[in-house]
Amino acid sequence: MDLNFLEFEQPIAELEAKIEELRYVGNDNDLNIGEEITQLQAKSKQLTKQIFSNLSPWQISQIARHPRRPYTLDYIEHIFTEFNELHGDRAFADDPAIVGGIARIEGRPVMVIGQQKGRDTKEKIRRNFGMPQPEGYRKALRLMKMAERFNMPVMTFIDTPGAYPGIEAEERGQSEAIAKNLFEMSQLKIPVICTVIGEGGSGGALAIGVGDRVMMLQYSTYSVISPEGCASILWKSADYASTAAEVMGITSERLLELGLIDEVIKEPLGGAHRKPENMAGIIRRALVRSLADIESMPVQGMLDKRYERLMAYGTFKC
């Protein structure tokens, strides 16, 4: 099984393998098999289109966690220039599960902050699988307050299974760190744009997710609890994760319908990992456009709108 492909993509994987094989043969002798390759490629594209036009929420959550999915630093590299990473919360430590720093987007200085997962095992452990400690959130807040002082917009990238549930995290006040970020982000006097690029895992995601505009990549997810967690609590078995994913409505499309996010950023066919640089370009344009929208308002107007929108969250009878 090709690890580049998820289980439901196996028919595509098989076609792609065939194409590779033909190419190999093609290099070996003079037979003209170019035509056949072109045909198979068209077929593969068609198949991908077909499979991706009808993905279940559970399949989408697998794409959101795809091992090849671009992470925050991959996007930073292709969206921004002059990125200078800044470290530490100035009190306890630097948390590698959250990265942040100043950079330029189309020449404009901004503060960039995001959760960071690791690619190989060593890096995964160092980044704690993208699950931040309290000091990570405190670093993020320090950078946001700094951005406010220097009048730089803040752009966050959300990609975490959740805040880390560990002993030290509790000792150092994981709850307080998250709560404080929600509190402060609601009133930062600079534009804040949040983009969910992979997994939007609960409070650990929201802690860098309060802003003037919340966007989601097409195959990212955002939820109050992971489908597995929800299933093991409500269905008493993690086997019901796909059902939980269905009922919770964790996909960008559903959340846009429910008015909980502002924009869905389309991904290249087959997902962001198939064409990371294209994806980065699409995100860059969305960021620049959003920033222009937000900045068309005076600062007080922007703050009022952010607040009104926060107050409007919820569904109840009255």
Binding site: A163, Y164, P165, G166, I167, A169, E170, E171, R172, G173, Q174, S175, E176, I178, A179, K180, L182, F183, E184, S186, Q187, S202, G203, L206, A207, G209, V210, Y222, S223, V224, I225, C230, I233, L234, W235, K236, A244, V247, M248, G249, I250, L255, L258, L260, Y307, L310, M311, Y313, G314, T315, F316, K317, C318
Partner: protein, 294 residues
């Protein structure tokens, strides 16, 4: 009659006397198992006089204990739950709501009131753990905001007693957003110089702990309450080691700098009335007032 018969017969007399007491007049401490006389328990606000265990109490009862007699007006009772997602796990969310409403007599997990504490005007809200584990969904968030707004407009302190398992899964991302909503209204209070006192009671975890409950100008915990971001079971499964004694209890939080003070429920009224009066530079509260419950 020998002396033994004398003793046993006297015991029997006590036993038969007990039968005449109407049922429900006795409660049991869920920690030391002492059998306690309910009218006495009410007077001690459901704190066990034998072992000082702070038992769980309902939201309305909490506010009645806390606020001065006949001073209360409820806020936000018009806000009621609806199942926008048509959520169904092993049970329908609608049915879970119905059951919780029947069990508690409340429409949702937060009750809010304006009133006075030892003569000091305040707005107070309380979570009800018996209502779907005090979980925070849209109604909890909206009622919290409405209560905070009353505090804002009347320029009186806002006090919230939390006890909650966290965000309500059946309202999915709507619930998560209540964390941002409640935190944002507290930022507004802070900007306007309105004190917010957060009282953390057993247990307060998850999304409630990671939002409004940690944002007090003063964070107060009841003794031995379980308070944390993740529940102990989740942490144990993640780190695969046994948790230290007293982990995530009030005393642990005090030691680690998360809460300002631990206050016995029987002294909560006096303590809060004192601190909020000082924070608002008002005269020392008049201590002659009685709680509504008495």
């Amino acid at each position: 009659m020998n002396w033994i018969q004398k003793i046993t017969s006297s015991i029997r007399i006590e036993g038969t006397a007990k039968k005449n007491i109407p049922e429900g007049l006795w409660g049991k401490c869920d920690s030391c198992s002492a059998i306690l006389y309910k009218p006495e328990l009410e007077k001690s606000f459901w704190v066990c006089p034998k072992c000082d265990n702070h038992m769980k109490i309902g939201a309305r009862q909490r506010l009645v204990f806390f606020l001065d007699k006949t001073s209360e007006t409820e806020i936000g009772s018009e806000v009621q739950p609806q199942d926008a997602l048509k959520f169904k796990d092993l049970k329908k969310y609608k049915d879970r709501l119905g059951q919780a409403q029947k069990a508690t007599g409340e429409k949702d997990a937060l009750v809010a009131m304006s009133g006075k504490v030892n003569g000091v005007p305040v707005v107070a809200a309380a979570f009800d753990f018996n209502f779907m584990a005090g979980s925070m969904g849209s109604v909890v968030g909206e009622r919290f905001v409405r209560a905070a707004n009353v505090a804002l407009s009347q320029k009186v302190p806002f006090i919230c007693f939390s006890t909650s398992g966290g965000a309500r899964m059946q309202e999915a991302l709507f619930s998560l957003m209540q964390m941002a909503k409640t935190s944002a209204v507290l930022a507004k209070l802070s900007q306007e110089g309105i004190p917010f006192i957060s009282v953390l009671t057993n247990p307060t975890t998850g999304g409630v702990s990671a939002s409004l409950a940690m944002l007090g100008d003063i964070n107060i915990a009841e003794p031995n309450a379980l308070i944390g971001f993740a529940g102990p079971r989740v942490i144990e499964q993640t780190v695969r080691q046994k948790l230290p004694d007293g982990f995530q209890r009030s005393e642990f939080l005090l030691e680690h700098g998360t809460v300002d003070m631990i206050v016995d429920r029987r002294e909560m009224r006096e303590t809060i009335a004192q601190v909020v009066a000082m924070l608002q530079n008002k005269p020392s509260p008049d201590v002659k007032h009685l709680p509504s419950a008495v």
